[in-house]
Amino acid sequence: MTSTAAIAPPADAPRLPVRTMAAMFVRLLAIQGAWNYETLLGNGVGFCIEPALRLLPSGIHSPEFKAALARESRYFNAHPYLASIALGALARAELDGEPPARIERFRTALCGPLGSVGDRLVWAGWLPFCSLASLAIFGLGATTFAVVSFFLLTYNAGHLGLRLWGLRTGWKHGLHVASALGNPVFRRGPQQIGRLAALATGIAIPLALGRIIGPGRNLIGGVLIGVALGSLLIVRLRNRIEGWRLSLVVLAVFVLLSVIR
């Protein structure tokens, strides 16, 4: 693979060397490496876009390069996977020589949509779906290797595919990338995945608890009633205490009772 080989571009998009695209993609996996409460993803965007900025005609020691890198390293917020869309679009805008003020406005406008769409699609949809589907497979008695492989392969097919698609789509559309957010995957995907995840939840919980409880399965009726009541309690208590903290308290009390008795 050489720097002269290129990603097949759409009719009107300039060619981006494969080496540059690959460097941006690998760096994209570390986009949150310096995440902080001041600039959020900002430095990560600068870090990821730097290989593309090297292609600026004036070179890496020029004022244009430094101004572009400084601009791209400022505050930015987005879902880490969908930041790839912004990254591709911003790289294209910088290399096309768009006015800095226009690029700044574009960066600001992208933050909200890329955050909320990504959260709904990935964190509230794809991740729980893959997790619950894997728990269902676990509950059916699959081997350790099968459960872990299924989870990692399924999840990362979506994860890496989304990042790669985003980078290419952003590069292809440049500052007009907003139309890509109208993709059916973003419009209807969260709902469809949500339904599938709800189905997987129903299947996974009884099967997973059946396998974890193991020899105590004659207690399963009581456990199921306990789960129904416990779930209701956690739903009622939302915004007051998180379930994992409640679990910590319950288990700590149980350990104390078991050890002291």
């Binding site: 949150q32 490496g33 890198l69 350790t144 995840a197 009884p206 319950v250």
Partner: protein, 226 residues
Amino acid sequence: MIIELVPLALLGGVLGLDVVSFPQAMISRPLVAATLAGGLMGQAPSGLLIGAALELIALETLPFGASRYPEWGSASVVGGAIFATHPTHPAGAMTLGMLAALATTWIGGWTMVKLRQMNAHWAAHWRQGLEAGSRGTVTTLQLTGMTADLARGVLLTAIAYSVLSPMANACIGVWSMDARLSRALIVTTAASVAGGAAWKLFHSTAGARWFFVGGLAIGLFMLFAQ
């Protein structure tokens, strides 16, 4: 102890790094992380068992935006390793492994907040270079953040395992509760959290409740048919 601690701490560091910094491939999810820890102790299936229970709880804490959430990668290594060191699964082993993981995940979440504050401090310290568009500064800040995150995970895992593993062993020695009851309580707690989490995630999705009910019917049928 030292011989098992070094690989566990390194694993905890790598999986802690995966939570946010690199590459977010979800190898840090309890289902994977606890299994890998169990594998290091020669008991991958034990790791998977506790990993599944932790995964049910972890469904509630997804990494939304800038929210503060527990860190499951390093914590699952600690919990998975503690449970896997008792391959006969004596009464209390899973309860104590879960408790150790939950305690570590709590501390881990706090360390992530501190790391983010440190990243902000470093960004402020290097502001001049960032505003000047220095390649070196941008790359250094990124690598510093990632290295600090790796170190955070290594230290967290090493300290948590060193402290909690002997405590768990001592508690198992005097455990008085019935093994089946112990396991039933864990499962009830974890599945309750998962049920509550699922409601929070999907209750606003049109038709999701019917999919859930349908899934539950399938799941219960398969459970009792097994």
